[in-house]
């Protein structure tokens, strides 16, 4: 009320309205300065954003440039050749990575999703705070430590390095990532949706499982894909667990070659054709992650 009055007659006591500038052609120095400042800031933000994605572009470019030379059918189908012989491929590492990552996903996914559901849907209890804190801590633990943990947990008691041990190490990395994204996605579901389900006389577990979780499947799948992409590139935890192998994987309880470990081994080796294989391996890994990411997004976009 008071503000309205004061705009009409700013000089208190006088009831005569004061003339105001109407023409928009009049541009003051301040207007010009503001416009240029605006442009400058927008430009700065644009440059900063560009700098942020520049590493991605240069990594893709460099890995592609170095790796494309070694790309042929042999690379995917052959075992690595001994030193001195040319040719050979990383077929066993590719298969090994697929095996270990798939096992890790199967082991870790139920725990990750269940923890996420618990964190989001039963957030009243004190236990939830503790659990959330633990999940965040677990997500922050360096992966090499988790590798040593899996070593002590599986490798030592079972008496040998194995694909299973590698999968367990990767699963431990997967759990907090999936739990956090599941929690965040489920929290986006408004409470009135849950109330609608409960008011229909549906039991709480059905509301959570069939309405809340099922309705968020798109977001959760994205989280899962990102988690899988992340564990596909993990190297340190596999050195202690899956180790490496020069042969095709022939059992889940045997050491197995994986792309990251093989890249590491071949990249630091003093042989040029091993280095070349490492580059092509790196390219394969990057594209595997990239394709998984992009295709997931495309599928989800079509669904939505």
């Amino acid at each position: 009320m008071t503000s309205a009055t004061s705009t009409v007659s700013p000089t208190s006591g006088s009831s005569r309205p004061r003339a105001r500038a109407v023409s928009m052609a009049q541009v003051s120095y301040r207007d010009i300065r503001r416009k240029w400042f605006n442009r400058f800031m927008l430009g700065t933000l644009g440059v900063a954003a560009l700098v942020a994605v520049l590493p991605l572009i240069s990594v893709l470019y460099y890995v592609f440039k170095q790796g494309i030379a070694g790309l042929n059918l042999e690379f995917f189908t052959q075992l690595p050749k001994p030193v001195g012989e040319t040719g050979g491929g990383l077929g066993n590492s590719i298969l090994g990575t697929l095996t270990v990552v798939m096992m890790a996903t199967v082991i870790g996914l139920p725990f990750g999703i269940a923890s996420g559901v618990f964190l989001s849907e039963f957030s009243r209890s004190r236990f939830t705070y503790t659990l959330r804190f633990c999940v965040e801590l677990l997500a922050g633990i360096p992966s090499i430590i988790l590798g040593i943990f899996a070593y002590a947990l599986i490798v030592v008691p079972m008496g040998g390095f194995s694909a299973l041990a590698g999968a367990v190490a990767l699963a431990i990395i997967l759990v907090p990532t999936v739990a956090k994204t599941t929690e965040e996605v489920l929290k986006l579901v408004p409470d009135h949706i849950r109330e609608a389900g409960l008011a229909l006389g549906l039991p709480r577990w059905k509301v959570i499982l069939r309405i809340v979780l099922w309705g968020s499947r798109a977001g959760i799948s994205t989280g899962i894909m990102l988690a899988i992409a992340r564990i596909s590139g993990e190297t340190a935890p596999l050195i202690f667990t899956a180790l490496n192998s020069q042969y095709w994987p022939h059992g889940l309880l045997e050491p197995v070659s994986t792309l990251p470990v093989q890249i590491y081994t071949y990249a630091i080796a003093p042989f040029e054709d091993w280095n070349r294989l490492a580059w092509t391996g790196a390219m394969t890994l990057v594209f595997f992650v990239l394709i998984a990411n992009v295709s997931m997004r495309l599928i989800l976009r079509r669904k939505a």
């Binding site: 408004p190 009135h192 949706i193 609608a196 409960l198 006389g201 549906l202 099922w214």
Partner: protein
């Protein structure tokens, strides 16, 4: 509180209901009964506890963290808070429609209507088809959506979404339907449609509706309860309450002097 005609054989009866949010006493010792096949309105200023009271009638109140209640609520003589009574069973019999239309975003119109049945295990397609048609007709939405049942429920307008929610609540055939300000988010035309619907609905269900709109209460309800600061000030036949209110506060409220 005064009652002119005594209510015999009420379908719903609240006895000394108190409701709390933590230490806050939101509903204070409310006792009232509802005749079957009537529309009962609850009016009162914002924050007077009418929505909270409504939510104690189908045990939705307890879903809010920190919310508690005391007292009895009888559905056809049976206490819904008695030991061993599952809130799920209560809510199957006492449905609810909320202030904001809340169709399930991931489901089609068809799926939204029958979700209460499909998730309870009903698979028979012809049964479901029949329920969809009956419920949507009942909610006066059938003619508008019969050709696009596969489209998402959220593609409808606000008023249509609210009628979809009414159809969804009706699909499980509850004898009682609670409505929490069902038209406050809707335009006048949609509101009029839902008001017509309320009068139509009471042939089959007993409706308890919370509303901010006194004209609406006067138009559609048989009885009206006036809430103030968590208490029922007056509960009376609507025709009486809106013409000759007994309490000065009721009169002040319905003549627009506060609230």
């Amino acid at each position: 509180m005064s009652q002119s005609k005594p209510i015999v054989n009420p379908i719903l009866e609240a006895r000394s209901v108190d409701a709390y949010f933590g230490a806050f006493h939101a509903v204070k010792n409310v006792t009232l009964s509802v005749r079957p096949n009537t529309v009962t309105a609850m009016i009162g200023p914002s924050g007077c506890g009418k929505s909270t009271f409504l939510r104690t009638l189908n045990r939705m109140h307890e879903e809010i963290p920190g919310a508690t209640m005391k007292g009895q609520v009888l559905l056809a003589g049976e206490d819904i808070y008695a030991r061993g009574i599952d809130p799920v069973q209560v809510r199957r019999r006492i449905g609810m429609v909320f202030q904001k239309p809340n169709p399930f975003p991931s489901l089609s119109i068809y799926e939204n209507v029958v979700v209460g049945l499909t998730l309870a295990g009903v698979k028979n397609r012809s049964v479901l088809d029949e329920v969809v048609e009956r419920s949507l007709k009942h909610a006066a939405l059938w003619n508008e959506v019969k050709d696009k049942l596969k489209q998402p429920g959220t593609s409808l307008s606000g008023g249509q979404q609210q009628r979809l929610c009414i159809a969804r609540a009706l699909s499980v055939e509850p004898p009682v339907l609670l409505m929490d300000e069902p038209t406050s988010a809707l335009d006048p035309i949609s509101t009029a449609k839902i008001e017509e619907l309320l009068v139509e609905l009471k042939k089959d269900v007993t409706v308890v509706v919370v509303t901010h709109n006194m004209q609406q209460a006067a138009r559609v309800s048989d009885r009206t309860a006036f809430f103030l600061l968590g208490e029922v000030i007056e509960y009376e036949e609507s025709s009486t309450l809106f013409s000759v209110p007994k309490d000065k506060r009721t009169e002040a409220y319905i003549t627009g002097r506060f609230g």
